[in-house]
């Protein structure tokens, strides 16, 4: 309901900020944005609060070119990226220096690059158009994502959820372009394997 309302305002009048209704209008949305990206409830709540407080401080910088929600989301997004950056640098060099050959040996034969027998993809045997099945598969997927190393999840999330440019991700998270692709590859191999293991 509140979304429809704010969109109406967007099309009819210049956008103004209405902090008295920020929480009612946007808190759930911002919380869901945050929790899906960092998956720690308390931290996600804190981020929502920080976002509103930061927004209050720069209220006079709002130019009315975007909707109130878009503006707030942009502030939150920067905070999420900060957390990604902290998390991935905090985990030390082990995850950043990727020994690809070494790690891929989990999945592929080191000599010929074939799938190892135990890791070959198997059909999930479901019709992804079935909403119920789909929902369950998604919840497993979410759990699988949380098992990824922090840096991988950050890279994966920034690329797939927010569709950031590769350059920006590499810069923000300090990974080289070639490591970026290695991470994308590894993350998917692990996610797919995790789904297969927990679904079938």
């Amino acid at each position: 309901m509140s979304i429809a309302k704010s969109e109406e305002i967007l099309t009819t009048a210049p956008v103004t900020l209405d902090p008295h209704h920020w929480v009612a209008n946007h808190a759930d949305y911002l919380f869901s944005y945050a929790i899906t990206r960092i998956n720690e409830e308390e931290q996600a709540r804190d981020l929502v609060q920080e976002t509103f407080l930061a927004a209050l401080q720069r209220i006079d910088k709002f130019e009315g070119r975007s909707s109130e929600r878009t503006w707030l989301t942009a502030i939150l997004k920067n905070k999420v990226i900060d957390i990604y950056r902290k998390k991935s640098s905090g985990l030390g060099k082990n995850t950043t220096s990727l020994d690809t050959e070494q790690q891929d040996q989990d999945f592929f034969d080191p000599y010929d690059g074939h799938w190892k027998k135990t890791h070959r993809p198997e059909p999930f045997g479901i019709d992804t158009n079935d909403p119920l099945m789909n929902k369950e598969l998604k919840s497993i997927l979410q759990q699988c994502m949380q098992k990824l190393p922090a840096l991988w999840l950050s890279v994966f999330a920034m690329k797939h959820m927010d569709e950031e440019s590769t350059e920006l991700i590499c810069e923000e998270l300090r990974v080289t372009p070639s490591n970026f692709w290695v991470i994308i590859h590894r993350a998917k191999l692990n996610l797919r394997a995790c789904l297969q293991k927990n679904w079938i």
Binding site: W22, A27, D28, T36, V48, G113, E122, K138, T166, I184
Partner: protein
């Protein structure tokens, strides 16, 4: 693994290209290599199908429209709005 194995048999490289292809453009050579590999490898064809499906699910999962059921609790929201009002009063 010093010698470069022929791409036709290399599933590691093929899955790498499958991932890359979904996010960026492959070179002509890469496209050709991948196509040849996929013609002969049912595992990687399945991997590709599932990988595309996963990306689609991830996108849906984190697209706001799908997440209406995630909510902050009302208590927290009430306190949050109070805090905002407090700050507004000060200014």
């Amino acid at each position: 693994m010093n010698e470069l194995k022929n791409m036709i048999y290399n599933c590691r490289k093929a899955t790498f290209l499958i991932e890359k292809k979904q996010l960026a453009a492959l070179t002509l050579r890469e496209q050709l290599e991948l196509r040849i590999h996929l013609t002969g490898c049912s595992f990687c064809r399945l991997f590709q199908k599932q990988s595309i499906g996963i990306n689609k699910m991830v996108y849906e999962l984190f697209h706001p429209a799908e997440n209406r059921e995630i909510r902050l609790d009302d208590d927290y929201k009430k306190k949050l709005q109070e805090r905002i009002e407090e700050k507004l009063d000060k200014n």
